[in-house]
Symmetry: C2
Subunit: 524 residues, 2 copies
């Protein structure tokens, strides 16, 4: 017996299902009861979904309690029918239908890459990733997890880096509430099976994020295991089975991104070919082509590989965003440039001023930057991993930044960088990485180089950020036309309009403080 419903784990009927059926990019689930001899996790099971103009083959999975499920995210409105297939007779040839209707207001569909530097939701709405990092927020306890969600509701963050597996590391010495495989730590696992409850909880939290407009940048593998569970060194076949299971369970969640690893280069036993393989496998079996990335510690993965959709970067040097944009030809998210905090390690001791500065440099240069917070507190609950509350000063400034960049042209900004020739020549052995920026010489003349970081869009929009500089003025030769000019205090979060219709040669007076920016926007 099979029934087709929205995901039973979901309580957001009003979002994913309307009175008339499943909304576009909602999650439709076919659930079939069957008794099988042998290992139910090894049962072949799936369904084909058909629409007047489309068809999709979708793999199913075993969810425990005799239940086999297929999940489907319809991407086209109208009537869909489905038929199941399996190597178990009871699961073969089950049929049903669903009516896919228009998405609800806050459902914009999955995010994808729409240009060499930009993302957008499936409905065309631009998406600017403003992420934070809560590695194992989903593996704490309900009280803390609910607190995290309440904090997120007040935060500017629309992407969350989070892991499937538990974490053992400084400040992370607790056992998770459950395990992904049946068995006991540290190494008695039945890798032939999964623990459905573990993944059901993960899905609940992914939906919690979805409801709050937050993409789940799901870290599939990470090296912070320390022998506690051995999930960082499972046999190759288990890794493949795990990936296949994840795709079957999770691919129908529209806010899902695949992050194949955190700090992939810290896994001593894996080769680059292993990582290539994982990404190629998921690329092959994910019906929805969710975003795929892989995050480095020191050495970058080759983000030019066709199975990588965007760059997920760890680096403390945001000034190199233009270099990576050019080198990889894909959007650049510096997920980890250091976290605001005061811990004893260099990756978690940024002052809030420096955290905000790095956001401004990265965004102005056409990239995206991720947040994290690591203030030591008596409870030992740090946002970057266990989450709960934010204690720092950067989040409101990041909210302010997000507004500024959401008002910027959707086409994105061409960077005006300040990498010096030595770096450019040595890194590239070619001409300037700012070739694209040369047009701006004509346009903005002296202002061209006199920034900490700058970005522009055609001759309609210019944004200049000054960081730890404290200019008292800047001179510009404005393009033909009339421009509105704002002086932005990125720390105090103020925008002062200094000209409503400036034109020609124009000197902008600045207050001689740190953390200032200038925005020049064409009057239409």
């Amino acid at each position: 017996m099979c029934i087709g419903i929205e995901n039973e784990n979901s309580d957001d009927l009003e979002k994913n299902k309307t009175a008339y059926g499943i909304e576009k990019w909602g999650l439709f689930e076919v659930s079939c009861q069957a008794q099988v001899s042998g290992n139910p996790y090894e049962v072949e099971f799936g369904a084909e979904f058909r629409h007047a103009k489309h068809a999709a083959k979708v793999s199913g999975f075993y969810d425990g309690d005799g239940l086999f499920k297929v999940r489907f995210m319809p991407q086209t409105e109208g009537e869909w029918t489905y038929i199941t297939h399996s190597d178990v007779r009871d699961l073969v040839g089950q049929r049903g239908s669903l009516n896919c209707v228009a998405p609800s207001t806050n459902n914009h569909g999955p995010v994808s890459v729409v240009s060499p530097s930009r993302f957008a939701y499936a409905d065309g709405l631009p998406y600017l990733p403003v992420g934070t990092t809560c590695y194992v927020w989903n593996l704490q306890n309900d009280e803390l997890e609910e607190q995290t969600l309440r904090t997120l509701e007040q935060s500017p963050f629309n992407k969350m880096r989070m892991a499937v597996f538990p974490k053992r590391y400084t400040f992370n010495t607790n056992e998770p509430p459950g395990y992904p495989f049946p068995g006991t730590p540290s190494n008695h696992w039945d890798f032939r099976c999964f623990n459905p409850g573990y993944f059901q909880h993960l899905e609940k939290r992914i939906l919690d994020l979805q409801r709050r407009g937050i993409e789940a940048d799901l870290i599939i593998f990470h090296p912070y295991d320390s022998g506690a569970w051995g999930f960082d060194r499972m046999p190759a076949k288990v890794n493949d089975r795990y990936l296949t299971y994840l795709v079957a369970r999770l691919a129908a969640f529209r806010n899902l991104w695949w992050s194949f690893a955190n700090e992939y280069d810290l896994f001593p036993e894996r080769t680059m070919q292993d990582w290539d393989h994982y990404m190629q496998l998921v690329q092959h079996i994910d019906p929805y082509n969710h975003l795929r990335s892989i995050h480095n510690c020191m050495a970058f993965y080759d983000h030019t590989q066709p199975w990588v959709t965007h760059c997920s970067v760890q680096s403390q040097d945001l000034h190199r965003v233009p270099l990576w944009l050019k080198k990889y030809g894909k959007p650049v998210i510096v997920d980890e440039c250091g976290y605001e905090g005061d811990i004893h390690m260099i990756w978690g001791d940024l002052s809030p001023e420096e955290m905000v500065l790095r956001f401004w440099v990265g965004f102005t240069l056409g990239g995206y930057v991720g947040h994290g917070e690591t203030y030591v507190n008596p409870e030992g609950v740090l946002w970057w991993s266990k989450d709960g509350q934010l204690h720092g000063e950067s989040a409101p400034r990041i909210a302010f930044l997000r507004k500024i960049f959401e008002q910027a042209p959707a086409a994105g900004l061409t960077p005006i960088g300040k990498l010096d020739n030595e770096t450019i020549n040595m890194l590239e052995k070619t001409t300037s990485i700012f070739d694209q920026g040369r047009d701006v010489d004509r346009i903005i003349a002296e202002g061209r180089w006199n920034v900490e970081a700058g970005g522009y869009c055609g001759d309609d929009y210019f944004l200049f950020y000054f960081g730890m500089r404290q200019p008292g003025s800047r001179n510009f030769n404005l393009p033909p036309g009339s421009f509105r000019i704002d002086v932005i205090d990125t720390w105090n979060m103020t925008i002062e309009s200094v000209a409503e219709s400036a034109s020609g040669a124009y000197t902008i007076t600045l207050p001689g403080r740190k953390y200032m920016a200038i925005r020049i926007v064409r009057n239409l």
Copy 2:
């Protein structure tokens, strides 16, 4: 008729000459009166100085008013004799002697390079360049120049970047009080001759610096002429004659350094071979082998050339000091990393916090950093060029830094850098530039990488700087022995002793503020 005296331009008899003769590294001058037919600047004239163990051939010069001079800086105590030579009969075979005695207290002799990263005076006293930039302070007026000297007396600066030629540039639109050649601007010069008064004034100011313990880093050519005088595009023969004249006049000043150009790469009409030639020429004719460098705008000169004694660098990225130290194998002075100020250009708008931060990063990583100040003021007199007074907040912090580094081991610091692998690999195509630093893994363990910039000397001395970070603690595994530990607030200029005799595994608590440093010194 010739007389041998200390330089008549000098009024510091008590320093360069004692009751018994000329002190070591003092300036002895032979002055001969002669009438010549033809151009006296084309007369061949010089002298040979002889000591029981040494001899030196020194070129002379025409100083106007029928006076031909030879200047000599004795580097060995004892009796010296001299005999002149010339192609003019009256100037041939003039003899005399001088008694070279021990140097006075504040005379340590000329500075030279004593290791791949260090300078010292001739008497062995380590010299840490803590320079400032006052390009044409010597071409203003007596009142302003004397004010500059009074300001310098209160400052931490022991090196001055200054130019021979006048400067035409933003904030520099005045004519100098005189010109190096007879004639009138903009291009009516008699390049066959010189204007001795112009150079006499320059010498007076070089001696004024010498008396205050300041090295004169003399910029021979600069591109900031704008057609006002054409000194940036003189004929090749004139350039050579000018260099020869400079060496004859100035080489006997012990505090002189040759800086062949400021921003050599901004001269459109000169080839790299031209610059090679200038430096080789001076290397050949300077009897004292004064320090020789050449300062870039964008593209670095090849500082590995044997005629370059040290790197004079313009760059905003102090984190690369270890790279340059390794690449060039010579001391690195980042003369220009931006100036404290508020002008409309990026090279002169650093906040004082950023200026001081850059000093700390550069010095901690084993290099030296230069200061400049460019605050707009009603008089249009900016320190970086016309000088006078300092208005900023960095100078006292630089004085504090100088004390810290003068207390550090004379052997200098091995850098502990934070250039990431991407840069290192791409810049070098080799292994880490921090090879030398690997020993420190054994020594200081976790503290190894957790710095903004760090330096150490053997296992006796460690200095860690945190910049815009705000750590609450750092953990160290101290080497065997007992150590004194100080927490330094580089902005508020305080040193707090946190341990008198720490050993073994040790956690240092920090105040969670920006701009902090830790100093760990072995108790002997």
